[in-house]
């Protein structure tokens, strides 16, 4: 049975003023198996973030349904952890308090939730920064905290919306390794949206390619690279071959998007 079932989910944004309604997402279906790491790859504006936000319950679908463990998704909830591209740590809370935010909402006693939060801070490499405020952290550190905050809630699925999009290349590569390491150890179901081809292959076990707006799935490609994956795998022939194939797929869509289709 699938963990997450996306069944003919589509999105049309209503017309503004005299304009026509815009279709952001064609009816799309996707089956996500337990502990799958799926990356959704597409040019900007292709509706991949919209799809992820619908799964997260932050936007409503115009049609179709989403089932998580058989139960329909109706709004945002603690069973789906979400990491945003923008920095969304609560500025008035320290790193450990941020990570413990969801646990406090669940009513976990203070001692226990701070213990769990500290453990997660350690796992994302922020053991020395637990009492820092977000403004004292670099962008990479903030996103690591955001990932720890989502995971500390022990969600059924982790949704990431271009989480490393605002980071420089070196930091981004380190973050990918860290996320992959966590996934290899903890086993989680992950949906990861990105427009970076290399990133999509490196962290994913399946790459779903989306077309230019209105978005639909145009390819679903398994990544048959072994785990654990060291960063050196990015230069292996298998990796490069897959990358070439995806570059071709994406290029067609990017050209379409640029032409305004």
């Amino acid at each position: 049975m699938s963990k997450l079932l996306i069944d003919q989910v589509g999105k049309v944004f209503p017309a503004r003023g005299k304009g026509q309604p815009t279709r952001a997402l064609m009816p799309t279906s996707l089956n996500v198996a337990d502990n799958d790491f799926i990356t959704i790859l597409g040019p900007s504006g292709c509706g991949k973030s919209t799809l992820l936000r619908i799964v997260g319950g932050l936007e409503t679908a115009t049609e179709g349904k989403i089932l998580l463990d058989g139960a329909p998704v109706t709004g945002p909830g603690a069973d789906r952890g979400f990491v945003f591209q923008s920095y969304t740590l609560f500025p008035w809370l320290t790193v450990v308090q941020n990570i413990a935010f969801g646990l406090r909402e669940k009513g976990v006693p203070e001692r226990e939730r701070l213990d769990i939060a500290r453990k997660w801070a350690e796992r994302v490499g922020l053991a020395g920064f637990v009492d820092h405020f977000p403004k004292q952290l670099s962008g990479g550190m903030q996103q690591r905290t955001a990932i720890a905050r989502a995971l500390a809630n022990d969600p059924k699925i982790l949704l990431l919306d271009e989480p490393f999009g605002a980071l420089d290349n070196q930091t981004r590569a380190l973050m990918q390794e860290m996320l992959l390491g966590i996934w290899e150890r903890e086993q989680k179901t992950v949906l990861f949206v990105t427009h970076d081809i290399e990133e999509a292959i490196f962290v994913g076990s399946r790459v779903v390619v989306m077309s230019a707006r209105p978005g639909r799935i145009k390819a679903d490609i398994p990544v048959e690279l072994p785990h654990p994956r060291p960063y050196t795998i990015k230069t292996s022939p298998e990796f490069v071959a897959l990358k070439e194939r995806l570059v071709e797929e994406i290029r067609v869509e990017a050209v379409l998007a640029a032409e305004g289709h």
């Binding site: 319950g57 789906r80 979400f82 969304t88 609560f90 008035w92 935010f101 669940k106 905050r149 989502a150």
Partner: protein, 257 residues
């Protein structure tokens, strides 16, 4: 001078003090130099002498105390009502749609113009003074607090929901702490405005307070006393501003630049 180039802390204090010195110097030249008649403007020394006289012989300290108590009393009353209302307006759009138009209108009603009415309704006692401050601060507070609470980044609210926050906890654990430093800043600002209302309230139908002393001195053409009263108000404002800033920095270290 280069645009936006910062100055050192010491230089900043120096510049600030220098202007006060310049101000007193110009005042001294104008008065001691005989360019302005004593009747219209007392010189700095006369002002200090009159101040001393007021404090020692006329119990001016009691007037100062009365004025401070009126400002704080009226202001605290306004805060007690405005804070929950402003939070509700900021957080819940129907409440905002219901109240915002009226409050926007009411905030332009001049508090001082209510004084005759308030005297009619509440007499010339303390209630009337507190009401003037209340009317002057309340509507400003409500609107500004509502804007502060509602002006949160949408993605912070989204993040809270995806972490399992309920609607009440989004208000309590996200909207409120997010707006807290700005609300504290609003308090500092509006308290400053409350000071101008209290003096007006005391100018009419009052038997104590700094404003009352100023009206009395006007009858005696004692400009030294008037200026001393005005300077005392300025000093109290300066001190309260300073205290507010210090407390805010203590309370909200995460919001400091």
């Amino acid at each position: 001078m280069k645009p936006l180039q910062p100055v050192s802390a010491a230089a900043r204090v120096g510049y600030g003090v220098a202007f006060f010195a310049l101000f007193v110097a110009v005042w001294s030249v104008a008065t001691f130099g005989g360019y302005v008649q004593k009747l219209f403007l007392a010189d700095p020394l006369a002002m200090v002498g009159e101040g001393w006289n007021l404090l020692v012989n006329h119990g001016f300290i009691v007037d100062i105390g009365m004025t401070i108590w009126r400002v704080l009393g009226g202001f605290v009353l306004a805060v007690v009502v405005a804070l929950p209302l402003g939070i509700l307006m900021g957080a819940y759009k129907p409440v905002e749609a219901f109240l915002e138009p009226f409050v926007s209108f009411a905030r332009y009603l001049p508090a001082s113009a209510f004084i005759p009415l308030l005297i009619l309704w509440a007499g010339i006692g303390e209630t009337q003074k507190l009401l003037v401050i209340f009317i002057g601060s309340f509507f400003q507070l409500v609107l500004m607090i509502a804007v502060a609470v509602g002006g949160i980044r949408r993605d912070l609210v989204d993040a809270a929901y995806t972490l399992g926050a309920s609607d009440p906890s989004v208000v309590r654990r996200v909207l409120l702490p997010n707006a807290a430093p700005e609300i504290a800043e609003i308090f500092r600002l509006v308290l400053g405005w409350a000071w101008t209302y209290v003096i007006v309230a005391e100018l009419i139908g009052s038997s104590s307070g700094i404003g009352h002393m100023i009206t009395d001195s006007q009858a005696l053409l004692n400009t030294g006393q008037i200026i001393f009263g005005i300077i005392v108000i300025g000093l109290i404002g300066l001190v309260s501003d300073f205290l507010f800033k210090a407390v805010n920095q203590r309370l909200f270290p995460w919001a400091q630049a």
